[in-house]
Symmetry: C2
Subunit: 355 residues, 2 copies
C-alpha cells in the first residue's frame, strides 16, 4: 500500500502541533536573529558544507570561469513533500541542475531558498535537507548560498523550495531548436511519466501496490555522455510540467515543422500505465524529473542511444519519433494500428503541484 | 491614516474571491500548460523583456565575464505585499542586488520565482510586476530567467517571491571582515529602520499620520561611488533582518574586536522614532532595505561620506561609531550621557515577515 508513504504536510503536519516546541519550525527561526543562526547551524547547514557556502556572506564568491554563463531558477511546491523515489529537496536540486544540463551547460553552483510554515516537523526538514545534500553530492554541484524564511501556520504549505542554478557553456554549437530539420530523430532517455504519477498516487493515497517511484535524478552526466557520443545532438529538454506532450508542442511551435511520435515506441511501464488509467491521465502529459527528450540529427540517433545505454541514467533510452515536414505543422501520435491523434500541450490543470 | 495603504492579501484577498474568474490567479495558471503560457504573456513577461529572458529557454544564456562570480538568493515573504514606499517586488529586486553590491560585486542578472496563491488579484500581481520591472530598470540589472507556480487557496499567502542574483567581482582587495582593525570607522548611508517600521505600521493598520516609507532601493551605484572615493572601504553590509544591531553583532563575532556606536550619531528620523516607540521596537534592530553599514579605514571615513553625499542614495550618510580593542569584545551603544548598553543580535521574533 502506498497510502501514507507521502508526507502530506497539509494534513499530517497540523497534527504534530501538540508536540514539543523544539520538534518543529517556529516563526522565530525565520527572524534573522540569534535563533535563525542556531537553527541554520543545527538543521540547514550541516550536510551542505563547502568552501563557497561556509563563509555565510551576503553572496557566495566563486572562481572565474571561461565561457558563456547559464542561469536558471525553479520554485518547488510539490505535495506531498515526500513521495516514493524522492522528496521536494531532491526534486529542487535535480530540477535546476537539469535545466542547466539540457542547455549543454556544466552546472557550477546552486542557490537554495526555503520558505517553511510554522509547525513543519524538524524531522521532515532534516530528511529533506539530507536529500538536498545527497542530490547535490551525486551531481557534484554545491549549494553555495541560501536563505530561510518562516511564515505563520496556515499561511504556507509546509515547505516551499526555490533553487537557482549557475552553469557554464563551453564553446561549440549551441543546443537550440533553430538547428532542427525534417528527418531529425526524437529520442527519450527512459520510461516516461514516473515522477508525476508517483506523486499523484502518494497524494491521493491510492491503494495501489506497485513499485511506482519518482525518477528524479541529476542528468548533467548523461547529457555529457550524449553530447560527446559522436552523434549530433541538436536539442535537449527535460519533460517536466507538461510532460513529453508539452515538449513536442514546443518543438512544433519553435521549428515550424511537424512531429510524429510512434505510440508503440513510447516507454510506458506497466505500473505507469495502470496508475495513469486509474487517475484518468495521459502519460504523455505527465511530468518527468529524470528523463530528457532529445532531438538528434537524422542518422545520429543510434550513436546517441548507445551512449545513453552505457550510462546508468540512460539505460532505457529509445527512439520515439521524428521531425517531419507538415502543413499545418502539428505534433501527432501514430497509433499502433496506424491512426493519428494530435498531441496538444496540456491545458494545465491535470496535475497541480507536481513539482 | 496609513490604515489600508498596505495590501494585506491574507485578509483582503480572500474577499475578492467573489470576483470574476479572470480577475485573479487560478491553479491552472501554474500547471505548466497552455494556460501558463498565456498567463505569462499577459501578466509576467510584458515589463521584463530583454534579450536574455525573451527566448524562454530552460536557462538564460549570458555572455562570458572576467573576474570572480558572486551568487546570492533571498526569499521574500513580506506582509502586506504592498506598503508605503514599495512592495514585495521592489523588495525582491533590491534585496538581491544589494546582497551582491555589498560584496563589491557588479550585479549582472537576476532570476525571479513567483509562488502565487490561487485567488491573488491580478491587479495586485500586475502592480508588483511593474514594480519589479521598475526596480530592475533602475538598477540596470535584467531579470533573465524565472518560474511561476500556483498553490491552492489557503495553502499560501498571496505571493511569495524568490530572487537569485549573479554578479562579477573585479580584481582588487575583497570587502571582508578580515581586514578590519581597531580604529576603523563605522558609517551608515542614511536614516535607519524605515523599511521595517513602514511595513509594520501598514500591517498593523496603526492610525499614524506620517510620511514613514520603506527605503527599499538598489544600491550598487552607491557602493561603486564609495569604493572609488579614494577612502579605503573594508566592509559593507546591508542591515536588513536583524537591523544595524545584527550587523554590529556579526562584526564583533567575525573580527574579535569591539564596536562602539554613538547613540547621538544614529540617524533616526522623528517618524521612525515615534513608530518604534508605539510598537515597542528598538530602531537598531529594525530592518532596512536601502541602507548600508560601512567599515572604512581609520581616517578614511570623511572621503567615503563625501562620496555618499554626492550620490542620491547616500545623502543622509553619517559616521556612527568605530571598531575598538575590547576584552571581552562587545558591541556597545554609548548613550548621550556617556552610559553604555550592550547591543545584541535580536533574538528573532520581533519583526516577522518584514522582507
Amino acid at each position: 500500500m502506498l497510502r501514507g508513504t507521502g508526507t502530506a504536510v497539509s494534513g499530517e503536519m497540523r497534527n504534530t502541533m501538540k508536540t514539543r516546541a523544539d520538534d518543529h519550525v517556529m516563526l522565530v527561526h525565520g527572524g534573522g536573529g540569534e535563533m535563525t543562526r542556531r537553527f541554520l547551524d543545527a538543521h540547514v547547514l550541516p550536510g551542505l558544507a563547502n568552501e563557497f557556502l561556509d563563509p555565510l556572506l551576503d553572496s557566495a564568491v566563486l572562481p572565474p570561469v571561461e565561457g558563456s554563463l547559464c542561469m536558471t531558477t525553479d520554485a518547488f511546491v510539490v505535495q506531498p513533500l515526500e513521495f516514493p523515489g524522492g522528496d521536494i529537496g531532491r526534486l529542487a536540486v535535480c530540477g535546476t541542475i537539469n535545466d542547466l544540463a539540457v542547455m549543454g551547460a556544466r552546472p557550477l553552483a546552486l542557490s537554495l531558498a526555503l520558505v517553511m510554515e510554522e509547525g513543519l516537523p524538524l524531522a521532515v526538514l532534516d530528511r529533506v535537507m539530507a536529500s538536498i545534500a545527497g542530490a547535490a553530492g551525486e551531481a557534484g554541484t554545491p549549494v553555495v548560498t541560501g536563505d530561510t524564511k518562516v511564515v505563520e501556520r496556515n499561511r504556507g504549505d509546509g515547505l516551499l523550495i526555490t533553487t537557482a542554478g549557475l552553469g557554464v557553456l563551453d564553446e561549440g554549437p549551441r543546443l537550440a531548436p533553430g538547428r532542427i530539420e525534417a528527418g531529425d530523430e526524437i529520442l527519450v532517455t527512459g520510461p516516461i511519466a514516473e515522477h508525476g504519477l508517483a506523486v499523484m498516487v502518494a497524494r491521493e493515497g491510492l491503494g495501489i501496490t506497485s513499485r511506482l517511484e519518482s525518477d528524479a535524478a541529476p542528468l548533467a552526466g548523461l547529457v555529457e555522455a550524449m553530447v560527446s557520443s559522436g552523434g549530433e545532438v541538436k536539442f535537449l529538454r527535460d519533460p517536466t510540467r507538461g510532460g513529453v506532450a508539452g515538449v513536442v508542442a514546443d518543438l512544433v511551435e519553435d521549428t515550424g515543422l511537424g512531429v510524429e511520435i510512434e505510440e508503440e515506441a513510447l516507454p510506458v511501464p506497466a505500473p505507469v500505465r495502470h496508475a495513469a488509467e486509474l487517475l484518468g491521465l495521459d502519460p504523455l502529459t505527465v511530468a518527468n524529473e529524470g528523463k530528457i527528450v532529445v532531438v538528434a540529427a537524422k542518422g545520429a540517433g543510434e550513436r546517441v542511444l548507445e551512449a545513453c545505454h552505457a550510462h546508468p541514467r540512460g539505460k532505457g533510452a529509445v527512439r520515439i519519433g521524428r521531425m517531419v515536414r507538415a502543413e499545418p505543422p502539428l505534433a501527432e501520435l501514430i497509433t499502433s494500428i496506424g491512426g493519428r491523434r494530435i498531441i496538444q500541450r496540456p491545458y494545465g490543470e491535470e496535475l497541480p503541484r507536481i513539482c
